[in-house]
Each structure stands twice: as structure tokens, then as C-alpha cells.
């Protein structure tokens, strides 16, 4: 495993950039589908950081965490798509801001 070693800092930088992109996506996009996709990017950014960290310390925990994140993402998509359908049905729109009735 002594191929070209990518320095950890680089990988973490990429992960941070990915996470930020995802987060900005969550903040600026109003379409629920895009919102979900942004979330997915954020999760993958986390996964990347885990895997890189695991590789850095030579331990499998990072990859195991990534497996868990994958499972989480799958479950999230299952629930979220159902919610998206409901949103479309109730408001005839995919704009997340229309579903803001639970306010003080």
C-alpha cells in the first residue's frame, strides 16, 4: 500500500470544499430535490473525511463509518422521497418555502 500517498490535508480540504458546496446548496436551493441532492453531497463529504482519516491511521473504522453513512443515505432517500411526494400533492409545488406553516 505504498503507492502515491495523497497527503491527508489535501483530502480533508476537498472534503471541506464538498461539504461547503453541499451546505450552500441546502441554503440557496428551494427545490426539494436539489436540497436532497445537496444533503447527499454533504454526507459524501463526511464519508470522504472518514475514509481518509481511516487510511491515515491504518484502521478500518473509517470505512465502516462510510458503510453506515451509505445505509443512512439510503434510508434518508426512502423517507425523503415519500415526503417529496406528499409535498407535491399538498402544495402542488416542490418549493420548500411553501411548507412553512409550522411557525410561531
Amino acid at each position: 500500500m505504498s503507492a502515491v500517498a495523497v497527503p491527508l490535508e489535501h483530502v480533508l480540504f476537498v472534503a471541506a470544499v464538498l461539504f461547503l458546496i453541499g451546505f450552500v446548496g441546502v441554503l440557496v436551493r428551494r427545490n426539494v430535490i436539489f436540497l436532497l441532492m445537496s444533503l447527499e453531497i454533504m454526507m459524501n463529504a463526511c464519508g470522504l473525511a472518514f475514509v481518509a482519516a481511516g487510511a491515515r491511521w491504518g484502521q478500518p473504522d473509517g470505512q465502516i463509518m462510510f458503510m453506515l453513512i451509505l445505509a443512512l443515505a439510503a434510508a434518508e432517500v426512502a423517507v425523503a422521497l415519500a415526503l417529496v411526494l406528499q409535498l407535491e400533492r399538498r402544495f402542488s409545488s416542490l418549493d420548500i418555502d411553501t411548507a412553512s406553516e409550522l411557525n410561531g
Binding site: V26, L27, D97, A99, S100, E101, L102, G104
Partner: protein, 628 residues
């Protein structure tokens, strides 16, 4: 034979039975019979028992006795008992309450027959008799006060008996509030007495007071004046007299029982019962006499200008109680109680007779619409005539003996008081004559329909006999209780006595000359004619005086301006309740913060996410700053 407890218990039982009977709402004949029998019967039985108790009392040597029933409460060392105390004074009062009370109840079975709320009426009346008996029989100022407030409550309930008219409710509230002013003073007096003497058992408290202040003191004067305040309120004396004329809104038997014969004389009873306190303070005793004199003066002039027959009698009641207060003040204690008794007879008679007239005229109370009734209503006329001559104190009637004793006793006290009392006796005769002439003579202005049966004219007959003969035998019963040792023998042939006797005769003659044979003018002046006197009455000054008297010397207006007006104004001002402001402010501030914080909960998911990120950043920043 200790049957005394039955005397107040029977009316109480009657009240409870009628209360239950009142739950079954139908107003049919059998039920009315039942209510009448229970209502009047319980008082009748009570009167019989009182008679037996009285005979036993004399058979046992007329020794004052106290009957212990049970301990009311035990608080620390304070254990007021429910005790009944029987002596000459309470016996006389019990006799008047149950005896006259029974006759009035009997009369009321006929008078109230066509009214709604027959059982309610008798329930209240029985409760009243119970409370009044507790008042006079209580051996304890606390029990006395219980009865005192009980009669006040019943008075309120019965004045407002015809509750569908708002004015009657107003009159009832007025009576309650005005007497409450006096009651507060009385309660303070009782507190003070208890603090100083340490007992509220009447006999022990009186003995304690005599021991504590053998030469009188400011404290005893204050106590006596506070008790006088209570008496003034209950007995409708100046300055708390304004409620009594309005109390005539109640049914006429109520006026006869409560506002003539019994409750309004409770103040006289109170002062007679606590006479030791008043003997210890010449100031307080003078105040009693002064209150009596002022009241009897003011009210007898007021009675002269009234149109409503019941208001004439109400003002007359005030003035007769003024005589009693005068008697108490000048030290003629027995004469005061004697007059209380004879007044109960003849004033109850007058009220019941006027009730018969009012009923026969379909609830017409304006004397200017009566007239010429003497042939058509012979029994009410005869009763009213007998009551009137007793009220005016013509010789050989009951009122003569008692009033003469008072007026002559006031001469021994001060000739000024005598002059006032004699003038008022003259005025009494004058307004009584006016009332009789307007009601029964002249031309008929309203056609009467008399349906009275024996239950109505029977009591009139008995009371008429009592009004004439009730004073012939004097009143020895109270001589052992009251400090003056009974009514002394009067010299009826001294110059003062002849003047005293002549005053009412002069009043009647003058009244006959002024009022007989002339009709009242339509706009309310008492007479319309061409004689010099008529012109005097019709002059602007005469009219002004008449209006002044008609309004009861402006007391109502004065109190409206001084007390009611500012109170209502302040109540309006304080509609939102200044004290409440503190609490509403606290609630308002909380609510404001709530709204402020609720703004952050917009429902926008992206807003929450942004905030989370900001929060996270802030947390990181703090940690970084803390670490470096």
C-alpha cells in the same frame, strides 16, 4: 319547664318546611293553604309557647334565667355559647314579636293570596321572626349580632320581594347598605368592648364595664357611641334614616312587621340591653336623646308633606322611634320599652289597615287618589281611626300612656327637649289627621273593592283592642331590668302635663280645620282653596318648604351628592382596577417576550439550517478563542 328553646325553633322549622315546599313550583290552592298554615301556624305556636314560658317565668318568681343550649365554638379561651336569656325585657320583646308577628302573618295569608311567591314570602317572614327572636333572646352579644344581621338580611329580601320592579331591588340594596354603615360601627363597638372587658356575655360584659370604669371614661363613651351607631342604622334615625321610606317598596305586612313593629325597634332594644354602658357616659346618653329629638322633629314634618300613605306611616314610625330614643336618652328606659310595645300595636294596626285600603283600591298608595272611603271600607276605617288616635296619643289610648311618660320625662331632663317632643306630638296629630281626612273623607276618587275575609279583619280587630287597651296596665315586666325601676306615676294635672296632653288635641283640631272638606289640587299641593292659609301654602315659599319636606329634608340628595356620586365616579375611574395593573403588566411583559422569540420560528427550513450553521460557527469561534 324549659320550653324557651321552642320559641325561636318553631319559626326556624317553619322556614325550613316552607323552603322545601317552595321547591315544588306549582302555585295551586292546596299548596297555598299549606304554606299559609305552616307560615302563620309556626308563629302562632311560637306565641303560645312564649305565653306559657312567660307564665312559668312569673310563677317561678320572675328571676332572670339563662338557658344554655350548646357551645357555638371553641377558639382558644373564647367559647361563646348559644344561650337564651329570659328576663322582663326579653320577655316583653318576645311577646311583641311572636304576638304581633302572628297577627301580621295571619293577615298576610289573605293579603298575599294573589301574589306570586306565596311560599317564598312566608319562608322569609318565618326566618325573620327566628332571627329577631335570636336577637332579643341571645345572652351573648355574638348571638345578638347574629340575629341583628339575620333580620337585616330578611329585611333586604322582603323589601325586594316584588323583585320584578328594579326600583324595589334598589330600595332593598339601599336599606341593606345604609344599615350596614351602622352595623360596621356596632361591630367595632363590640370588638372594643370585648378587648376591654374580655367578655361578650351580656351580663358579664355589663358587670365588667361597671367595674372597669366606675366613673366613666373616654373608652366607654366610644363603645357606647359605636353601639349607638348600630342602633341608629337599624332603627332609621338621623343620620342613617334615609332607607326606611324606600323600604316601603316591600309588601305591606312586611312594612307592618319589620319596618314598624319589630326590626326597626331593635336599636331601642340594643340600647336598653346595654344600658349600663350608656349610664356610664353622659355624653353617649345625651347623644341618644339628641338623635331621637332630631329624628322625631325632622320626620314628623316630613310626614306632613307625603302623598304615599305608606310613606306617611314610615316617617311616622321614624318619629315614634325617635320618641323611644329620646326616652332612652333622658333616662326613661321603661317608658321607651313601653312605647316600643304600644307602638308595635298601633303602628302594626295602621299598616295593616292601610294595607286593606291599598288592596281594596288595587294597589293604589297615593292618598290624593283616595278619599271618601269611610262608608265603603268600614273595618279598615275603624281600625285606622283607632290606630290614628293611639298614634296621636289621645287620652286613654295606649299611645297616650307611653308617649306621655316620655314627654314628661323629657321635661325633667330639659325643657328644650320637652318643647321639641311636645311640638312633634302636635305635628304627629296634624299629619295623622291629614292622612285620615285625605284617605277616608271628601269625595271618592277611586272605587274600592273589598274582598277581605276573617283572616284579614280578625287581626285588625285584635290589634285595635290592643292599640286602645295595650297601655292601661303599664309595663311592670321591665322594671326589674332597667335602671329607672319602671314607669313612675305621672301627675296628669300639672301645667306641663296638661300642655303635653293638649298638643295632640290642638293638632287634630287644626288638622281638621286645614284639611277637612277640601280636595288636594292636582299638581300635588295638599290643598287648593281661597282662604288665607291656602294662599300661604300655595305661595312660592310654601311650595319650596313643601318640596323640602316631601324630599325628607334633602337627606337623600345630600347623600347622593356626598357619598353615592363620588363613589360611582371613582368606581367608573377605577373600572380597569388599578391594583390589577401589576398583574396584567406581568402577563403583558411575558407575552411580549413570547412574541419576540416566536419570530425566530418562521417555519422556513433553510432559515433553521443557516442558524444552525451560524451557531456552530459561533461555538467553534468560542472554542478557538478559548484555546488560543
Amino acid at each position: 319547664m324549659d320550653l324557651l328553646w321552642l320559641v325561636p325553633t318553631l319559626p326556624l322549622a317553619g322556614f325550613l318546611v316552607l323552603l322545601v315546599a317552595g321547591l315544588f313550583v306549582s302555585e295551586d290552592r292546596p299548596r297555598k293553604w299549606f304554606c299559609g298554615i305552616v307560615g302563620a301556624g309556626s308563629i302562632g305556636l311560637s306565641a303560645l309557647v312564649a305565653l306559657m314560658v312567660g307564665m312559668d317565668y312569673y310563677a317561678a318568681g320572675a328571676e332572670p334565667t339563662s338557658y344554655f343550649l350548646w357551645t357555638w365554638m371553641e377558639v382558644g379561651g373564647f367559647t361563646p355559647g348559644i344561650r337564651l336569656y329570659l328576663d322582663g325585657l326579653s320577655l316583653v320583646m318576645t311577646g311583641v314579636i311572636t304576638g304581633v308577628g302572628f297577627l301580621i302573618h295571619l293577615y298576610a295569608t289573605g293579603y298575599m293570596w294573589d301574589e306570586e311567591g306565596y311560599s317564598r314570602f312566608f319562608a322569609y317572614m318565618n326566618l325573620f321572626v327566628f332571627a329577631m327572636l335570636m336577637l332579643v333572646l341571645g345572652d351573648n352579644l355574638l348571638v345578638l349580632f347574629l340575629g341583628w344581621e339575620g333580620v337585616g338580611l330578611c329585611s333586604y329580601l322582603l323589601i325586594g320581594f316584588f323583585h320584578k320592579e328594579p326600583e324595589n331591588g334598589y330600595a332593598a340594596r339601599k336599606a341593606f347598605v345604609v344599615t350596614r354603615v351602622g352595623d360596621t360601627a356596632m361591630l367595632l363597638g363590640l370588638f372594643l368592648l370585648f378587648r376591654e372587658v374580655g367578655s361578650i356575655e351580656v351580663q358579664a360584659a355589663m358587670a365588667g364595664a361597671r367595674e372597669l370604669w366606675p366613673d366613666g371614661s373616654t373608652t366607654v363613651t366610644i363603645i357606647a357611641l359605636l353601639l349607638l351607631g348600630g342602633a341608629v342604622g337599624k332603627s332609621a334615625q338621623v343620620p342613617l334614616q334615609t332607607w326606611l321610606p324606600d323600604a316601603m317598596a316591600g309588601p305591606t305586612p312586611v312594612s307592618a312587621l319589620i319596618h314598624a313593629a319589630t326590626m326597626v325597634t331593635a336599636g331601642v332594644y340594643l340600647i336598653a340591653r346595654t344600658h349600663d354602658l350608656f349610664l356610664l357616659s353622659t355624653t353617649a346618653q345625651f347623644a341618644v336623646a339628641a338623635v331621637g329629638l332630631v329624628t322625631l322633629f325632622i320626620s314628623s314634618f316630613t310626614a306632613l308633606a307625603q302623598r304615599d300613605i305608606k310613606r306617611v306611616l314610615a316617617y311616622s314610625t321614624m318619629s315614634q322611634i325617635g320618641y323611644m330614643f329620646l326616652a332612652l336618652g333622658v333616662g326613661a328606659w321603661s317608658a321607651a320599652i313601653f312605647h316600643l310595645m304600644t307602638h308595635a300595636f298601633f303602628k302594626a294596626l295602621l299598616f295593616l289597615a292601610s294595607g286593606s285600603v291599598i288592596l281594596a283600591l288595587h294597589h293604589e298608595q297615593d292618598m290624593f287618589r283616595m278619599g271618601g272611603l269611610w262608608k265603603k271600607l268600614p273595618i279598615p276605617f275603624a281600625s285606622m281611626l283607632i290606630g290614628s288616635i293611639a298614634l296621636a296619643a289621645l287620652p286613654f289610648t295606649s299611645g297616650f300612656y307611653s308617649k306621655d311618660a316620655i314627654v314628661l320625662a323629657s321635661f325633667e331632663y330639659s325643657s328644650v327637649f320637652w318643647a321639641g317632643a311636645a311640638t312633634a306630638a302636635f305635628m304627629t296629630a296634624l299629619y295623622t289627621t291629614r292622612m285620615m281626612v285625605l284617605t277616608f273623607f271628601g269625595e271618592t276618587r277611586t272605587e274600592p273593592h273589598d274582598h277581605s275575609r276573617i283572616n284579614m279583619w280578625g287581626p285588625l280587630l285584635v290589634l285595635a283592642v290592643l292599640a286602645v287597651g295595650g297601655g292601661w296596665y303599664g309595663l311592670d315586666a321591665v322594671s326589674s331590668v332597667l335602671p329607672d325601676g319602671g314607669i313612675g306615676e305621672q301627675d296628669h294635672f300639672s301645667a306641663v302635663a296638661i300642655l303635653t296632653m293638649g298638643a295632640p288635641l290642638l293638632g287634630i283640631v287644626l288638622g281638621y280645620l286645614i284639611f277637612y272638606g277640601r280636595q288636594p289640587s292636582s299638581e300635588g299641593a295638599p290643598l287648593a282653596g281661597e282662604r288665607r292659609l291656602d294662599r300661604l301654602v300655595q305661595s312660592p315659599a310654601g311650595n319650596a318648604i313643601r318640596r323640602f319636606w316631601f324630599g325628607g329634608w334633602g337627606f337623600d340628595v345630600l347623600y347622593d351628592r356626598v357619598f353615592v356620586g363620588p363613589f360611582v365616579w371613582f368606581a367608573r375611574l377605577n373600572k380597569r382596577d388599578g391594583v390589577d395593573f401589576v398583574y396584567t403588566a406581568a402577563a403583558g411583559i411575558t407575552r411580549g417576550f413570547h412574541h419576540l422569540v416566536a419570530l425566530t420560528q418562521s417555519g422556513h427550513l433553510r432559515w433553521y439550517a443557516a442558524n444552525m450553521a451560524l451557531g456552530l460557527l459561533a461555538a467553534f469561534a468560542i472554542v478557538l478563542v478559548a484555546l488560543s
